[in-house]
């Protein structure tokens, strides 16, 4: 009961209002998009039947002007009813607990739970940017321009749904409402207790099979490095290669893409699905790393 009361308090904090709005609008627009796409797939493309194209001026600008007034009303009411979410003066000797990034980066912060900082904070964001940049070059499907469809672009829509809706939006929601003091996971009915103790029992993947990650003297266990390397590389490279080899004859789309486009797409995709896989391994099986490797004392390559 107390936990729920606490959850309600967190939910209604002025800070979290944009996140609530974001949730509602993402779900609403998602639903709207899917609805229209399904209608198009079922009944033929509706947009193609429409010929009543009208001039931007005045027909669109008129509506936009009205919407501007609407937004102004909304912002006025918001600014009157909700006080600015100011907190205590910043104090270099006292870190707030939990210490959270701005809400739009909470997905990135969540990744830090599962990966080393240089992967979660540097490598993965870089690949997200590169991936977004190369989308026009690797997407050779001409369909779906100017109308909604699921049937004609199943792969693209699946990637978007995993990448944006789950890995970005859902992680923001998780980070805002379910990460409490100590960045521990709290269910909505649990009170955010500062003194909570959670057992730390994570082990590396191969330790589950009795293969230690490091030797007694602190050096890396070569067997583990070898096995982990094989596993990671076969995930990132082996699986796409296998699919290429097996389906390049049967699936014309692969041939159309060509090997380079396919390689880039596959690498980005495997990295993307790697994240939820790692999350699952951590949450369900307490796996810390699948591959522990490094050079010297500073350069680690733990995945």
């Amino acid at each position: 009961m107390e936990g729920l009361h606490n959850f309600l308090k967190i939910l209604t904090q002025p800070d979290n209002v944009p996140i609530i709005i974001m949730m509602v609008s993402v779900l609403g627009y998602g639903w709207l998009g899917v609805k229209q796409a399904r209608r198009n797939d079922r009944e033929g493309i509706f947009e193609a039947t429409q010929s009543d194209k009208v001039q931007t001026w005045p027909y669109l600008v008129k509506v936009e002007f009205l919407m501007t007034i609407g937004i102004m009303i909304m912002l006025t009411v918001w600014s009157i009813t909700i006080n600015a979410p100011l907190e205590e003066p910043a104090n270099p000797t006292l870190t707030p607990n939990p210490s959270k990034a701005p809400w739009y980066f909470l997905g990135l912060q969540e990744m830090l739970v599962y990966f080393d900082p240089w992967i979660a904070g540097v490598m993965l964001p870089t690949f997200i940017l590169i991936g977004l940049i190369v989308v026009p070059y690797i997407d050779i499907n001409p369909k779906g321009n100017g109308y909604y469809t699921l049937k004609e672009r199943p792969f693209s829509i699946a990637v978007f749904s995993i990448g944006f809706l789950i890995l970005w939006v859902a992680l923001i929601v998780l980070g805002t409402f379910m990460r409490g003091p100590g960045w521990y996971f709290f269910w909505p009915w649990e009170f955010w207790d500062t003194h909570r103790v959670v057992a730390l029992t994570n082990v590396d993947f191969f330790e589950k099979f009795g293969i230690a990650s490091k030797n007694v003297d602190g050096s890396f266990n070569l067997l583990q490095v070898l096995l982990g390397g094989v596993m990671v590389i076969s995930f990132l490279v082996g699986i796409p290669m296998f699919i290429w080899e097996k389906y390049k004859e049967k699936k014309p789309v692969l041939r159309e893409m060509g090997v380079i486009r396919y390689a880039i797409t596959a690498a980005l995709f495997m990295m993307m699905v790697g994240l939820p896989i790692k999350m699952l391994l951590r949450l369900a099986l307490n796996i810390k790393y699948v591959w522990v490797f490094g050079v010297g004392h500073d350069l680690f390559f733990n995945i």
Partner: protein
């Protein structure tokens, strides 16, 4: 491709939205009308803009309503005052005045009077015209005369010219007469008017003086009516630092609402109105009626008189002199000018709501400190102070923190380098038995009800282990008694000695009871009621003879006891036996077992016994517990509450509230399960192991504090915030007077000087047991003005009797030179005197010595005082031979003026009357009956006693227009014509030239301070070095 319908579908009614939008969807975009949507949105935008303005101007500015209310209240309050003031006046008088003013005004207003005034005006006009005519004619005459004169010079014909001139002169005279007669007429009429006007002025003047108070009040009312509705704020520039160490300004706007804070019309609970209709109107008022600023009370036998009284928001500050004026609150910003939040906390800049302004918003780190917690902020500026006037609990907390020896285990600001609080245990076995130690450590308060030794809650085995270690480490102790007790002694005599020499100044026994746990008065030393079962007689005998022999750092002084006295006292004290009833079983284990000793070693190191006691082998141990330097700022998240449920914490809150010492208010929204700072500390003070769990051991012993003690410590601890206040606002840390006071107060507390003596009008607790004020130890409040530093030093080193009739003894404390400096500095600082080397070589005025001797004989000074050190028990006043080296010359003047004022209860008569009842001399013949001169004469005579060779006589000088006595050492006094004498200290003096005429040894006559070039009329004839 859809076909664009050429016609617009039928319009649907807007009150049926389903249909309306269905139709609308079918309408082509070009044909859709947006008028309605635009209209609705525009109306909403307009309304919400209005709302925004309202919110900005009214909702978020509640202080405007409060100020309106204050204005109302102030005007009503002033009306009440005016009515009261009018009531005081004699109605007959005031009516007469009003009547006369009315009649005079009526007369002035009458037509006849007005006619006279207009007549005067008439005459004035005529006079001006006539005067001008006359002036013009005169001017013409002058011109003609010039022409005539010219003609005369040129010897031309002058007849006609002189004729014209003559004519003009005639006209002129005629005109002059007209003017004169007009003026006379005017004066006649004016004479009829003037007395009335003069009378009116007189009556009005009388009116103003009779109604003076009323007029002042009415002016105040007028000012109140014109009061601006505006934000009022104080800015403390560079007052404090941010968390990033940058200087920061603080802005306080508290007085925007608390307008009556310095207005004595609004003393708390003052009546503001008795007018029932007015009060009803306030209650209905829309200005700020969700919060009433007054309480409505019903008075009278039938409860029918309704009155409204001021409550907090407008009430005047309860301690306006010390806390408002003393802290320069409300002055324009500048050095040392403080605002409200410096002491009270709260969000000084906020005006949005009471909760925000008071800082009850969980992100605001300094909410309003309610109740006595306002005292916590005293420490921010007065870090070293021991006693705070009007701040009972922080003063008590500071004393308890010292006396409980908290600093033995915790680092705390202001307690660095303090000596250990409790006795040395190096030779403990020479004093007590292991069995007694066992009894004691098991439950200290079971043995002595008010001891400060805490209970460590050891089990039987642990206590035995600690005793084993202490017993073992004492085997190498070096203590050997100096004085040997050979038995005997008379307990009855001992009891008498105990009561006479002042042992009860520090110790409680028999009739001298005590409850306090603050180390002060007779709870300073241990309670001696069970001492006979604790220590051995041999140890006791040596201890009271030579306290420093057993424990070098002991605060127990030597009372210079003879062997006989010491034996009697020992016999008396050893009679007092008792047991620790709460500890039933005794030690069962062998305390010499090495395993047990080792265990004891570990326990002592863990629990930090060495924080307070000197123990062998523990000299280099660090303090065992956490530093408290910023403890007051800890958040609930940083405190460990163990398994203590919120209900128990809440219980502390309600219990403290019940005894009238409520814990400070907190922002309930931010607090979970009563887990706030105050409940944590209150719980810890009451039960130090409360938050212990299976996994988290706690070691703080239980001090078994009373609620009040626990509360006082919460107040002190809350103040340990490490808050930085700029030096220009804080107590000057390098102010020598302040340092002298701070160190001195600590010294006086540490050595229990205040047990016997009253210093700074506090202390002197032995007075309770000594009925006759004459037999009490002397008051030391005037000490800084009274004695010479060198004498004080010698006296503290080895007291010599001043007042042989006193039975109570000044002990020999064996103070170090630095301690004596602290004491001397302290006494001087209490009188704002600098701690500097002063030369007391006093030069008596030879002219006064004769008169002084005569007065000295006439007043029969020697019937009480003596003039030799060999004063017997019959002596009832101090030896005057000592005066010269003991007392400050200027103080003796004060003393002779008013002995009772300096030392209440003194037997010294006030020979010259008292300043309150008027001063007069009994001997008008001597020195012309001049009281000041007679007092000086007696003083000078007393100072000349025992001096074989008087120094050269005093010359006079006139310096800055005043007569001066100048002493050879350059010091001087000022003798003012009104008879008072002031010491000018280091005032400016005009450099003087040597006078060549002053013959050696001849005093300059007092009656002739005729030269501005005073000289030192000494034998050398050299110029006086004056500063």
């Amino acid at each position: 491709m859809a076909v664009v319908p050429s016609t617009r579908p039928e319009k649907a009614p807007w009150w049926n939205p389903g249909k309306y939008f269905a139709v609308r969807r079918k309408t082509p975009i070009e044909l859709r009308s947006y008028t309605n949507i635009y209209a609705i949105l525009s109306i909403f935008l307009f309304l919400f803009t209005l709302w925004a303005v309202m919110d900005e101007v009214l909702t978020r500015r509640p202080w405007k309503g409060i100020q309106e209310d204050f204005k109302d209240f102030k005007i009503t309050r002033l009306n009440l005052e005016i009515r009261k003031e009018l009531h005081k006046l004699n109605p007959a008088d005031t009516q007469a005045i009003h009547k006369e003013i009315k009649s005079l005004q009526k007369e002035i207003g009458s037509n006849a009077y007005k006619a006279k005034l207009s007549k005067i005006e008439d005459y004035d006009t005529k006079i001006v015209t006539a005067q001008r005519d006359y002036t013009f004619t005169k001017s013409l005459a002058d011109e003609k005369y010039y022409v005539l004169d010219e003609a005369r010079t040129e010897h031309s014909d002058t007849t006609s010219k002189s004729k014209t001139l003559r004519e003009l002169e005639r006209t002129m005279n005629g005109q002059k007469r007209v003017v004169d007669s007009l003026q006379k007429l005017r004066a006649d009429v004016e004479a009829q008017v003037v007395p009335t006007e003069r009378r009116l002025k007189e009556v009005e003047h009388t009116h103003d003086s009779v109604f003076a108070q009323v007029i002042v009040l009415k002016r105040k009312r007028e000012a109140a009516q014109q009061m601006n509705i505006a934000v009022r704020q104080t800015m403390l520039v560079n007052y404090e630092k941010t968390n990033f160490n940058n200087l920061k300004m603080r802005v306080d706007r508290c007085v925007t609402c608390h307008l009556g804070y310095d207005d004595d019309l609004f003393k708390n609970d003052t009546l503001i109105s008795t007018d029932a209709a007015q009060i009803k109107a306030w209650t209905k008022s829309n200005k700020y009626n969700d919060k009433k600023h007054y309480t409505v009370v019903k008075l009278g036998p039938n409860q029918d008189t309704v009155v409204a009284k001021v409550t907090t928001v407008f009430a005047m500050h309860p301690n306006i002199n010390l806390l408002i004026k003393g802290h320069k609150v409300g002055e324009p910003s500048g050095n040392g000018v403080l605002g409200c939040t410096s002491c009270h906390g709260g969000q000084g800049g906020s005006l949005v709501s009471t909760e925000f302004a008071h800082g009850f918003e969980h992100h605001w780190t300094e909410p309003l400190a309610t109740g006595h917690y306002v005292e916590t902020s005293c420490r921010n500026c007065h870090a070293g102070k021991m006693d705070f006037e009007g701040a009972k609990y922080i003063s008590m907390g500071k004393k308890l923190f010292t006396d409980f020896g908290c600093y033995g285990c915790h680092n705390a600001p202001g307690y660095d380098g303090m000596p250990q609080q409790a006795p040395s245990l190096l030779n403990i076995t020479k004093k007590v038995t292991p069995q007694w130690m066992y009894q004691w450590i098991s439950n200290p308060r079971g043995w002595a009800h008010n001891t400060r030794m805490p209970n460590f809650m050891f089990n039987q085995h642990e206590v035995t282990a600690v005793v084993a270690y202490l017993n073992d480490q004492a085997k190498t102790g070096t203590y050997r008694p100096i004085a040997t007790y050979s038995g005997g002694g008379n307990a009855v005599n001992g009891k008498q000695i105990f009561g006479e020499i002042g042992c009860f100044g520090c110790h409680a026994v028999d009739d001298y009871k005590t409850d306090s746990r603050v180390k002060e008065a007779n709870s300073f030393g241990p309670d001696l009621n069970k001492i006979g079962s604790k220590v051995t007689a041999a140890w006791m005998f040596d201890w009271i003879k030579n306290p420093k022999n057993y424990h070098m750092q002991s605060r127990m002084p030597s009372l210079r006891l003879s062997d006989g006295e010491a034996a009697d006292l020992t016999a008396y004290l050893m009679q007092h036996t008792g047991t620790n009833d709460s500890v039933s079983s005794s030690m069962t284990e062998d305390i010499n077992s090495p395993a047990l000793i080792k265990e004891g070693d570990k326990l002592i190191r863990t629990y930090g016994c060495f924080g307070c006691h000197e123990i062998k082998g523990m000299e280099d141990e660090a303090k065992v517990s956490v530093s408290l330097s910023t403890f007051g700022k800890k958040t609930p998240g940083e405190l460990f509450y163990g398994n203590v449920p919120g209900s128990v914490l809440g219980h502390f809150r309600s219990e403290f509230k019940k005894i009238g010492l409520p814990l400070a208010k907190v922002d309930e929204e931010a607090i979970h399960d009563n887990q706030d700072w105050y409940t944590w500390v209150a719980g810890k003070m009451k039960n130090s192991r409360m938050y212990q769990t299976e996994r988290i051991p706690q070691r703080m012993p239980n001090f078994q504090m009373s609620d009040e003690e626990a509360y006082a410590l919460t107040v002190l601890l809350k103040g340990f915030t490490g808050h930085y206040v700029s030096p220009s606002y804080a107590d000057q840390p390098d102010d020598p007077t302040q340092n002298g006071l701070d160190e001195g107060r600590m010294f006086a507390h540490w050595n229990n000087c205040v047990g016997c003596h009253q210093i700074e009008n506090a202390g002197g607790y032995v007075g309770k047991y000594i009925q006759d004020a004459m037999y009490r130890p002397p008051l030391l409040t005037p000490e800084g003005n009274k004695v010479q530093e060198q004498w004080l030093r010698n006296f503290l080193k080895g007291p010599t009797p001043i007042r042989p009739w006193l039975k109570i003894r000044m002990p020999t404390f064996g103070f170090s030179d630095s301690s004596i400096s602290v004491a001397t500095h302290y006494f001087l600082a209490t009188k704002a005197r600098p701690f500097v080397l002063t030369d007391y070589q006093f030069v008596a005025d030879q002219n006064l010595l004769g008169a002084g001797k005569e007065l000295f004989d006439q007043l029969k000074c020697l019937s009480c005082h003596v003039l030799s050190t060999a004063g017997g028990a019959q002596q009832i006043a101090p030896n005057l031979e000592l005066t010269r080296h003991r007392l400050r010359p200027d103080w003796v003047i004060d003393w002779l003026h008013n002995p009772e004022g300096q030392q209440p209860g003194t037997r010294m008569p006030a020979f010259w009357g008292t300043p309150e009842k008027g001063m007069a001399s009994l001997y008008p013949a001597i020195l012309g009956g001049d009281v000041e001169m007679q007092i000086r004469a007696v003083r000078d005579y007393v100072y000349s006693i025992g001096m074989d060779n008087l120094l050269p006589p005093t010359p006079y000088a006139t310096i800055n227009g005043k007569d001066h006595y100048v002493y050879p050492n350059g010091r001087y006094d000022v003798y003012l014509t009104n008879g008072s004498i002031v010491n000018d200290g280091q005032g400016s003096i005009i450099p003087t030239k040597p006078s060549t005429t002053a013959p050696a040894g001849q005093p300059a006559a007092r009656a002739k301070p005729d030269t501005k070039h005073a000289s030192r009329a000494g034998k050398s004839g050299k110029p006086t070095a004056m500063r």
